[in-house]
Subunit: 199 residues, 2 copies
């Protein structure tokens, strides 16, 4: 039987990561998110701090052509660090998907795995007030700061996704199903995905 | 225990109605779609043919102010027929939701029932090629005719929904969850909703 993969795209503050983690626990499989960067770093023998700087950010071609933040690793020579990270992470994601059933958060995993069967591509979104409150609680920031973080993060995720894929970030057409976590609640989102997975 | 309602918005050709009917069968509850117009006709004592002409179409205020297709029923005097239908249908939908658990297709039911608990608002969408093929098969029309029907129907549904509600038709933010029927398949959509309902 082939592995079953669930990829989760998510708005900042929507609880997409929490849903992924809870789902993984409920299903007894792994959930990969920022860990992927460590795996990419090990796999590509690239300094993790250099990768972290560009996580889920698209390459800025102007900056990268003027300045010299190009990687010097053998298989990435001449590429902006963002592209190196994208390529390394994509390789890790493909290897994981071949090896085991799992959940992958962000990192254009839906697009990376587009030619595989048994991949469910989910997007989690929520009302602004719900996301705002979650961000305020989690990062201990004011309402205004939370709103600003939300805007910035979603912009970055959107640029990154739209740059590296043929799809549009957050548009329902890019996914198999989209769940409104503020209306359904985090646990209901988990149970919908759990039921789907177990069928 | 309160009734559980599922409302289904859908793109033309996406199979939203089929999903509603199959789900109703699986759950042993009723699915209301074009039947609502008959119920509205009986309830409001308005000729059903006059209602059918304006089904899921928004009022054209210019036409209705120039021409005389106003209803003359006591409680709808001076209203365009579209508004009469919307009001009658909304009343029927609210009565149904109070009376029984059920599925309601289209007719802004999500908005009509926005103040009720236990209402799941779903939107079904699909890739164009999938919708096109379904329309060609169902209505025995050419690919071109199918594409034109799809465009026209979705435009009408969208105008109708955007006119009578505060939300935007087809935008994921207007719904609790959205399902891509071409990627998931009709039966998978049914099972996701069935599992959700039965929890």
């Amino acid at each position: 039987m082939s592995n079953k993969i669930i990829t989760i795209g998510r708005e900042f503050g929507s609880g997409g990561r929490e849903i992924g983690l809870k789902l993984a626990l409920a299903l007894g499989i792994e959930c990969y998110d920022s860990r992927l960067i460590e795996m990419a770093s090990e796999d590509g023998k690239v300094d993790i701090e250099r990768l972290r700087e560009v996580e889920e950010k698209k390459a800025n071609s102007l900056l990268y052509s003027v300045y010299s933040d190009y990687t010097t690793i053998p298989n990435g020579y001449g590429l902006p660090m963002n592209d190196v990270l994208f390529n390394l992470q994509s390789k890790v994601i493909m290897e994981l998907a071949k090896k085991e059933s799992c959940i992958i958060i962000g990192r254009c995993a839906d697009y990376v795995l587009k030619d595989m069967n048994d991949v469910l591509n989910v997007f989690i979104y929520a009302d602004n007030s719900f996301k705002n409150k979650r961000i305020m609680d989690k990062y201990d920031v004011s309402e205004r700061e939370a709103a600003s973080m939300m805007k910035k993060q979603d912009k970055q995720r959107s640029y990154y996704y739209n740059f590296y894929t043929d799809n549009r970030w957050g548009r329902k057409e890019s996914y198999d199903l989209t769940l409104n976590s503020s209306r359904l609640g985090i646990d209901k989102c988990v149970s919908i995905l759990k039921d789907y997975y177990e069928r």
